[in-house]
């Protein structure tokens, strides 16, 4: 299964690298969201600084919608789904591979956004260990959940509108947890943030298992 996952992750990332949409469009979109927040919320330093953690993760989630949509679209291409069904690849492996590819893209995106908030919102990174751990676990959670929900709506004409409607409420706990952890790291008490990080990790494990189990059945439905 892991071998299949590596194969699929490689494919997904190779396609993204070739088409460069992630770099040239999703990244700028994420930064644009940060800028829009600055327009909407009086850039008098106070508001943006206090809200940095939340705005960061909202930007991540919105950008993740694009990333997840593209991940799902990869397999909607003419005949690819049939090919996957015929290939003998383990469906759980396909799921994990896709989720890993999404996670890799989101992590890269978060690095860019981190630079963005440091520069644009004057954030001061403290509690680095907690920040990194939160990013890893929250990203895993978003990638696993999003890949599963992406499969739920893959191939449907209304995928683009239905995916956010289904996955964002499910990701609400991730937003809550990641934001609280970041708040603790950025000038709060880091010790308070670790339990939230634990929640995120548990969430990621749950959805990884659910996705690996369900992906086979979802691949079959046309």
């Amino acid at each position: 299964m892991w071998r299949d996952a590596a194969l699929v992750a490689g494919r997904d990332l190779r396609i993204e690298g070739r088409s460069r949409v992630a770099i040239s469009q999703v990244g700028p979109f994420a930064l644009l969201v940060l800028v829009l927040f600055a327009f909407a919320l009086d850039p008098e330093r106070g508001v943006l600084e206090r809200a940095t953690a939340g705005l960061f993760w909202v930007a991540v989630l919105l950008s993740a919608m694009l990333t997840l949509g593209r991940s799902a679209a990869l397999d909607e291409a003419d005949g690819v789904r049939d090919g996957l069904r015929l290939s003998g690849l383990d469906p759980g492996g396909i799921f994990l591979g896709k989720a890993l590819a999404v996670a890799a893209q989101l992590l890269a995106l978060e690095v860019v956004l981190a630079a963005g908030v440091i520069i644009l919102y004057d954030a001061e990174p403290t509690g680095i260990a907690l920040l990194v751990a939160t990013c890893l676990s929250a990203t895993a959670a978003v990638a696993a959940t999003g890949t599963l929900y992406g499969a739920l709506v893959s191939g449907l004409r209304v995928r683009e509108t239905l995916l956010p409607l289904l996955v964002l409420p499910a990701l609400a706990p991730v937003l809550i947890g990641a934001t609280r952890a970041f708040e603790s790291a950025l000038g709060g008490v880091p010790a308070e943030g670790w339990p939230w990080c634990g929640l995120l990790a548990g969430f990621a494990v749950f959805y990884s298992l659910a996705g690996a189990l369900a992906y086979g059945a979802l691949l079959e439905g046309s």
Partner: protein, 276 residues
């Protein structure tokens, strides 16, 4: 919950096992002696609850007459959770047993869940306005209830799509299975989060209720539960009839296609329908 006796004359759950013969006779109504009795009981319970809620029980010491909203609000919230539970359980059973009745039940449960979550939110808001001066506040219960409403809307949106049966049979139940875990995780997270921001000035939506007020609350529970059961029964039966109507189509379609083939041998090829 009240027991719903399967009715021999109506397409109750036991009809799932009967063969194509029973499918031919479509009943004109989803009513049955059992459901009518249930309906009467539900009406009586609603009348009783109204009586107690509005007249016979005293106003609360702290909240005044507003507490009467609680007699609807609290049972509705419970009914909503019940609907979600039914959806998830039925989705799981549908995946396991593949009996179509479970899929119908899952849809019915979600629709009722949505109905009652809206009632919960509206009564909660009406209660909140005079109490807090605002229609909405981000306390744990309201927030997670609102998210629950969105989860249900999403699930019903997926159901509403016109999908191939193959696609439906995998996607819809898996989303249904995820419903209760989502509800659970979301409400736990939100409560944990909001508990970090205790504000003494905000009173909870669930004050201590005793004595006569408790009686009124109990009648509210009874009424809501019976209404829920009655609605569920009928919604299930309607859904079941829809499903059976679709099944009849297959045999007819098979016959039509095959006889087309026989007649088509002597017809120009331009008449054949494009199936691909």
């Amino acid at each position: 919950m009240t027991a719903i006796a399967p009715d021999p004359t109506g397409p109750g759950r036991s009809a799932a096992a009967s063969g194509p013969g029973a499918a031919g006779a479509g009943p004109a109504t989803t009513g049955s002696p059992g459901s009518r009795a249930l309906g009467i009981a539900a009406l009586a319970a609603v009348a009783l609850a109204t009586l107690y809620g509005l007249a016979l029980s005293p106003a609360d010491v702290e909240m005044g007459d507003l507490v009467r909203l609680m007699y609807v609000h609290v049972p509705s919230a419970t009914a909503c959770y019940l609907g979600c539970f039914i959806t998830t359980a039925a989705s799981g059973l549908w995946l396991w047993k593949r009996t179509p009745g479970w899929d119908v039940l899952a849809g019915a449960g979600a629709e009722l869940g949505l109905l009652f979550v809206v009632i919960t939110l509206v009564t909660g808001s009406l209660w909140g306005r005079p109490t807090w001066g605002t229609y909405w506040t981000w306390d744990a219960r309201l927030t997670s209830t609102a998210l629950l409403a969105v989860l249900l809307v999403g699930y019903l949106a997926l159901r509403r799509l016109d999908l191939d049966p193959d696609a439906r049979s995998a996607r819809v139940p898996i989303l249904g299975l995820l419903l209760m875990p989502n509800v659970f995780i979301v409400s736990r997270s939100v409560e944990w989060w909001r508990s970090l921001h205790q504000r003494a000035t905000i009173t909870t939506l669930h004050p201590q209720i005793e004595g006569d007020l408790m009686v009124a609350l109990m009648t509210g529970f009874l009424a809501v539960t019976l209404v829920f059961a009655w609605l569920l029964l009928h919604r299930f039966r309607v859904g079941w009839l829809e499903y059976q109507a679709q099944r009849l189509d297959l045999d007819q379609a098979l016959d039509a296609r095959r006889s087309e083939a026989g007649a088509g041998a002597s017809r120009p090829t331009g008449d054949e329908e494009v199936a691909k």
